[in-house]
Symmetry: C2
Subunit: 254 residues, 2 copies
């Protein structure tokens, strides 16, 4: 009899942000599959088998998890944040789609988690109080031209923009190009927030104006939030908060 | 001495998706403020004071919560989903921004929650496996023309699109106009998912083609997900899954 595969979101880092259903599934799993540093976040149960994999081998990891499930295991495939947002859920369905018969009997379930966008927004204030978009700045899986096109259209739509994976050692220049594009298409006082390693002991939050941004302010652990044209920065109780008003345009036109 | 205000996301409905930190804050609160139906979801502690408010009075509710906090209470302001996504966090900062001295000493904290987009995506499969946006279809706080402009640009950017608040008794026609716009700007086989009352006993999930969509398939409790041009529908283990591949264009061009 086939087993099951639960694709589990662990949230941004803190145990206090892991949902009870995720904790439950991890306790009941016979096998846990994941990128090494996500496995390291767990306090494993006594008899569980841990399967660590390297970064950047998502399809291989998805197949490994599906194969364990088809062998009757109760598998938890762990990801940071939410499994549906630039993480493992899509990789699992890509694998299933390519070999529909191989894993036809596996019971698949996805458990949502607090994605970096929500965790970062909560620390920054209320930056996504209006319509927003999320763009993965990694060009490993799509052409850079598409990223720039989406950014330009997102600015034109006046979305608040969340940038995932803004910069890495393998991709040092992309985020500099994003800042150049923003300087061409928005005003220099546009508000930008950098939220790094949110909810961990290495957390760093910074909210500044576009004119003061430098590419090296972002790294692989940073979520960058670009305000829309109405986003504001206020001081309260010794803190700097960023928020985007819910109301747009109606005051003037009505 | 001033108290504190925690703006707490309760997730989409199930207790199993409420974060431990949210549960902790609710246990320690002296006062809980919220829309009646969110208050009804709680199992209140013995001495807590509940402050129910009507729907659609967000600024008033924000001021009430801030006033209780400035009086020294430990206040939890509860919202469904995530407080930053079309919910109470922005309303609180709008209130603070309008009267900066009134609540200068209140300690404000935001606790993220599983927003409807993540909960719905998890039930549907992996629809937001690529870049996405979220648009609130309510025109209470912005002109309808801006909603249509954002939808058109989102389709042009080939974002997966999440529509919050697609339809209500007060706004019966907006979602019909969205379907008309989609029929003009995308193909008739575009995949659309309707996720209603996710994680509750009234949950309903439906994934169909644009050509089969009718406006009345959405209501106030529905999150509508519009696939991008590459979103696929597959059958596996008796279920219909929707996913959006991570890879775009590179196979052909490289």
């Amino acid at each position: 009899m086939s087993g099951s595969l639960s694709i589990v979101g662990l949230g941004p880092g803190s145990e206090a942000q892991v949902t009870p259903e995720a904790t439950q599934v991890l306790m009941e799993a016979t096998d846990i599959v994941g990128y090494g540093s996500y496995i390291d976040r767990l306090t494993p149960q006594r008899f569980v088998v841990l399967h660590r994999s390297g970064n950047g081998v998502e399809l291989e990891r998805a197949r490994e998890a599906l194969n364990l499930a088809v062998d009757g295991k109760k598998v938890a495939l762990v990801t940071s944040g939410d499994p549906g947002v630039f993480a493992m859920a899509a990789a699992v369905f890509e694998a299933v789609d390519a070999q529909p018969k191989a894993w036809a009997s596996v019971e698949i379930r996805i458990l949502p988690g607090i994605t970096a966008l929500l965790a970062a927004a909560a620390r920054v204030g209320a930056p996504i109080g209006n319509d927003f978009c999320a763009i993965n700045l990694s060009d490993n899986l799509k052409p850079w031209a598409l990223i720039e096109k989406r950014l330009r259209l997102a600015v034109e739509a006046d979305f608040v923009i969340a940038c995932y994976n803004p910069r890495s050692r393998a991709r040092p220049d992309g985020f500099a190009r994003v800042l150049t594009l923003l300087r061409q298409h928005t005003e220099s006082k546009r508000i930008i927030a950098f939220a790094r390693a949110v909810s961990t002991q290495h957390e760093q939050i910074k909210a500044i104006l576009l004119e003061d941004c430098r590419p090296e302010m972002a790294d692989m652990q940073t979520l960058v939030l670009i305000g829309n044209s109405a986003t504001r920065m206020i001081e309260q109780n010794g803190k700097r908060w960023v928020y985007t008003p819910r109301l747009v345009g109606l005051r003037k036109s009505q």
